[in-house]
């Protein structure tokens, strides 16, 4: 009999020699070659014969009664085929919701062209169709939009709600969540800590603007739309409903996608206009958004105001939290409904045990571009608020801020931990996590004590250097389901078809790795087909850090089934029993005899007319579903070292550390890439990015000169620690998502590091911390201190 030790050494040996062990390896991406060669195919790169170009005419007014949209002059301009205002498409309904269970939002949906009123600058009011994009733009300039500015635009969600329409307030809903006896918590509190915090208006800003190309195939009476992504199947079904067609008559096709970040691939007015144009004008219609349009038309996000109160005991344990959120939705309720406001309060508590909680989200409309999700929606904001609160409690009780966090962490022994809260229409049940363990590892990884000493030494020399930590819990793997169809071709290559989507994140590689590892083939022989409604009947797309989890597990299940079928056929071909067979690198080996047969030959043997097939089903193929009712919850910590120039208010992020527990890392290099990219967006939101409006509602951040994103010069030296201490129990590989953890705690972390640099606890109350804001806050802070610091103490640049 073999000893356990022998068996272990043998199995670890076979793992070592298995060529197809791809899970956990940083293999190069399958996507890259065409993209570096200039051979990518984005929607702007695609043209169809006789296509028209659409150009949207947008409202120059933030709020008012739409008196007329005069298209007469534009119609007669050269190259113009049609110019439509809302009268021309009055039969098309408003854009519906996909992501909310909250009722009563119907009156607030957006028409595809403004009717009766305009509600934000950038709102589509007319569309021009022309032979040429330059001519379309000329004609769009000639459309006269007559607006009576009969009301003052509401530009702050904290203002008294107004009237959206007769009988409909600009506050469609107040969302309440909570549990426990909050009043008792506050009654028995040792201290109460209260903060008033704000986050500015940001968006994902993918480098590729939105675009669409539609063609109506008159022979088959089928509408095709290219440029789709994120939720192709849902969008197909809604387009079919809006245009009174069968879903079978509509096909959405995903091409290369130049970044999504939550905002891309939602159903927008422009998508519908392009489809209606193609159907009515009987020519393909192409629309490519320009950057200025993008800044005022694609979804905004983030803008929130939080009034949060915590009741704590003398040891710093939280007894209760009371939270009031004002969420600035912008002018209409788009496809997400009230989801971001809802999940902001549903996921606010992060890693901490909170015995009683009461939260209310005032979901309010304003005269700004409508808002929805942007990478880590509700969690970037919520982590800022929650971590600011933890720092404030620590300061109030004179406790070490990290020790305070540790005291309030949910213990790993309490997992799975039901929050008694909901988010994204699911129950929040933290599936796994060792929060305290990660805090230790993050501190060691960053060299926390050394960073603190370095900052103190530099401060002693007159520099304003500080260190901060932000802790967060993410969520990933949103269900409900995903389907994968996997087929081995007679050359041994593998096609994996999924209804998930790709926004450029590398999902083809990650899915190929899981499938290849399970099946036993070269991952580069796996082609992952995604985002095409004609290729697979169902799909839930790419969002909420779900693809590696949902499509990954469905792929593993399908690969397992294909492997069993392959071994069964190979056993007959090799005249042996299936359990002595081993499939690796596309070849089935008989371990004892050394005989082998390639997967290609096995696939040929399973062809319908093959004499070897016997009564097996034709084809080396399988379909598998993965269903999942609950999200899983990756978590991590960010640590930053910053230097503040007290004269200019400039904040330089010198070093940054991210520790992230992903459960199981499929491709560490790609996970690091997700975190670095997310971090650049998080730092943008923490320090630079903001959509500002003047007091008439004119947007003043509609170019890259005004909306400042992080460039290579602002991106700090960053180290990423990927941990696998808490695999998800919700799928066999233990997978969690990595799409958002680089963003989540960036605002929280930068805020606390700035406080530390300037030795002013609680200084930062809003994001982004622009130089102007910081200088103003320092003056305000110092004026409010009884020990009246001298403002002229604050000198010292970073260089």
């Amino acid at each position: 009999m073999k000893t356990d030790k022998e068996a272990m050494s043998r199995s670890s040996h076979s793992r070592q020699v298995r060529k197809s062990a791809y899970i956990g390896k940083s293999v190069p991406r399958l996507e890259d070659r065409p993209l570096v060669a200039g051979e990518g195919r984005f929607v702007g790169d695609m043209n169809l014969p006789h296509q028209l170009w659409a150009r949207i005419v947008r409202s120059p007014h933030a709020a008012g009664r739409l008196l007329a949209v005069d298209t007469e002059a534009a119609r007669t301009m050269p190259g113009i085929v049609a110019v439509w205002n809302s009268d021309d498409i009055s039969d098309i309904p408003n854009i519906p919701f996909r992501a909310t269970s909250i009722q009563g939002l119907g009156p607030y949906t957006q028409p595809i062209l403004a009717r009766d009123r305009v509600r934000y600058v950038g709102e589509p009011v007319a569309v021009v169709f022309a032979d040429d994009p330059y001519l379309a733009e000329d004609a769009a300039d000639a459309v006269f939009v007559d607006v009576d500015e009969d009301t003052k635009p509401i530009l702050d969600a904290r203002d008294e709600p107004g009237e959206f329409a007769p009988g409909a307030s600009t506050e469609p809903v107040i969302i309440n969540k909570g549990y426990g006896d909050v009043a008792k918590g506050f009654r028995t509190a040792h201290r109460i800590v209260e903060l008033d915090l704000s986050v500015g208006r940001h968006s994902g800003i993918p480098m590729e603007t939105r675009g669409a190309l539609a063609e109506f195939d008159m022979v088959n009476e089928k509408l095709h739309l290219w440029g789709a992504t994120k939720r192709p199947h849902w969008n197909r079904d809604r387009i079919a409903e809006m245009l009174d067609m069968s879903p079978a008559q509509v096909a959405l096709h995903e091409l290369h996608v130049g970044g999504g970040f939550g905002i891309r691939g939602e159903l927008y007015p422009e998508d519908i206009l392009v489809c209606v144009g193609a159907m009515r004008l009987r020519r393909p219609v192409k629309w490519i958004e320009d950057r200025r349009e993008h800044m005022m038309a694609a979804n905004h996000s983030r803008e929130q105001h939080h009034l949060i109160r915590a009741a704590v005991d003398s040891d710093g344990h939280i007894l209760a939290i009371d939270e009031t959120l004002h969420h600035d939705q912008g002018a209409y309720v788009r496809t997400h409904g009230a989801r971001v406001a809802d999940m902001s309060i549903g996921l606010l508590l992060g890693p901490y045990a909170v015995p009683a909680y009461a939260a209310r989200a005032h979901f309010r409309l304003t005269a700004k571009t409508p808002a929805a999700t942007y990478r880590a929606p509700g969690r970037f904001e919520g982590s800022f608020v929650r971590e600011r609160l933890m720092d404030a409690i620590a300061h109030e009780l004179q406790l070490d801020p990290l020790e305070l966090r540790r005291r309030n962490f949910i213990a790993s022994s309490e997992m799975p931990y039901a929050r008694n809260l909901s988010a994204l229409e699911t129950e929040v049940i933290l599936d796994s996590g060792d929060y305290s363990g990660l805090l230790d590892k993050a501190k060691r990884f960053a060299g926390w004590e050394a960073l603190k000493s370095e900052a103190a030494e530099r401060r002693a020399k007159g520099k304003h250097v500080g260190v901060g930590l932000g802790y967060f819990v993410e969520k990933s793997g949103l269900g409900p389901s995903e389907l994968v169809r996997m087929t081995v071709a007679t050359d041994g290559s593998v096609e994996i078809v999924t209804g998930a989507a790709s926004l450029g994140q590398g999902m083809e590689t990650a899915i190929a790795q899981i499938a290849a590892d399970t099946l036993g083939v070269d991952y580069s022989r796996c082609a992952v087909i995604h985002g095409d409604t004609d290729k697979i009947a169902f799909g839930w797309g790419a969002h909420a850090s779900r693809v590696t989890v949902m499509t990954g597990e469905a792929s593993r299940l399908a690969a397992e089934e294909v492997r069993i079928k392959a071994l069964n056929m190979a056993a007959e071909l090799l005249q042996c029993a299936p359990d002595g067979l081993f499939l690796d690198d596309g070849v089935v080996h008989h371990v004892e005899s050394g005989a082998s047969v390639s997967l290609a030959e096995v696939a040929k043997a399973l062809e319908p007319a093959s004499s070897q097939r016997g009564d097996r089903s034709p084809g080396l193929t399988a379909e598998a579903w993965f269903h999942n009712k609950h999200m899983n919850y990756p978590y991590g910590a960010h640590i930053a070292l910053v230097c503040v120039d007290a004269e200019t208010g400039h904040v330089k992020v010198e070093r940054y550390f991210v520790s992230y527990d992903i459960g199981r890392a499929v491709n560490p290099s790609m996970i690091e890439g997700q975190i670095l990219g997310g971090l650049s967006q998080g730092l943008g939101g923490a320090l630079f990015e903001e959509f500002r409006y003047d007091d008439t509602g004119q947007p003043v951040s509609v170019t890259f000169a005004d909306y400042l994103m992080v460039s290579a010069a602002e991106m700090p030296e960053t180290a990423v620690q990927i941990l696998q201490d808490a695999p998800s129990p919700l799928n066999p590989l233990g997978l969690k998502g990595s799409g958002e953890g680089g963003v989540t705690a960036a605002g929280a972390t930068i805020a606390t590091a700035i406080d530390d640099a300037l030795q002013r606890p609680g200084l930062v109350r809003r994001l982004p911390v622009t130089p102007q804001y910081l200088l103003q806050r320092i003056a305000e802070y110092d004026a409010g201190q009884h020990d009246a610091r001298q403002s002229d103490d604050l000198t010292g640049a970073c260089e």
Binding site: S26, P28, R29, E31, D32, R33, L35, V36, A37, G38, E39, G40, R41, F42, G44, D45, P78, G79, D132, Y134, L135, D138, G204, I205, P206, M207, E208, T209, H256, G258, G259, F261, D290, R291, L503, G504, Q505, G506, S669, M670, E672, G673, L676, G677, L679, S680, Q681, T703, F704, A705, M709, V710, S711, A712, A713, E714, M715, E717, T718, G742
Partner: protein
């Protein structure tokens, strides 16, 4: 304004006969008239750099130049980097260092760096940061782009070669 003028554009060593209005940008002419869609348009106001191409040895924004202005110049685009299907060392380094995700900004970065290498292959890290801050990427956080460039710059120094992917 929409009357067409006829001229010739030399792109990656090939002459293209163009007939377009004088207001057409170089970026649009490359994409539509030369069918070289590797040059991407990200902002149309010269900030993001997705449309960066090399004109007479200098990296320029193809969205800020009229096509007709490139008449008589040597234009190089991302499509000209690989030779006989072999990627240039910089293209390969982008893949090896995971320096791209969605890939939309990638051609602009490749041409930006290429233009810089042609002028001075001996780039130091500070200069590199300044150079890379000319263009925007929303996916990678830039660190891996810098790694890719430094890897190639080291190789260039080692081999004393003067250019990456320059037509031989």
């Amino acid at each position: 304004m929409s009357e067409k003028i006829e001229f010739s554009l030399k792109v990656n060593g090939t002459d293209f006969s163009i007939a377009c209005p004088p207001r057409k940008t170089l970026a649009d002419a490359l994409r539509e008239d030369c069918r070289l869609t590797g040059t991407h348009v990200g902002c149309e106001h010269g900030v993001c750099g997705a449309c960066t191409v090399v004109v007479d040895g200098r990296a320029v924004r193809a969205c800020l130049m009229f096509a007709v202005q490139a008449q008589g110049s040597e234009v190089r685009t991302v499509e000209g980097l690989a030779q006989n299907d072999v990627l240039s060392p910089l293209q390969q380094a982008f893949i090896d260092n995971h320096a791209l995700q969605c890939g939309f900004c990638t051609p602009g970065f490749l041409m930006l760096i290429n233009g810089a290498f042609e002028r001075d292959p001996d780039i130091c890290e500070d200069e590199l940061t300044e150079l890379l801050s000319s263009n925007l990427c929303r996916c990678t956080g830039y660190r891996n782009i810098a790694r890719a460039v430094l890897q190639v710059a080291d190789k260039l120094k080692a081999r004393s070669e003067l250019a990456v992917g320059k037509p031989s």
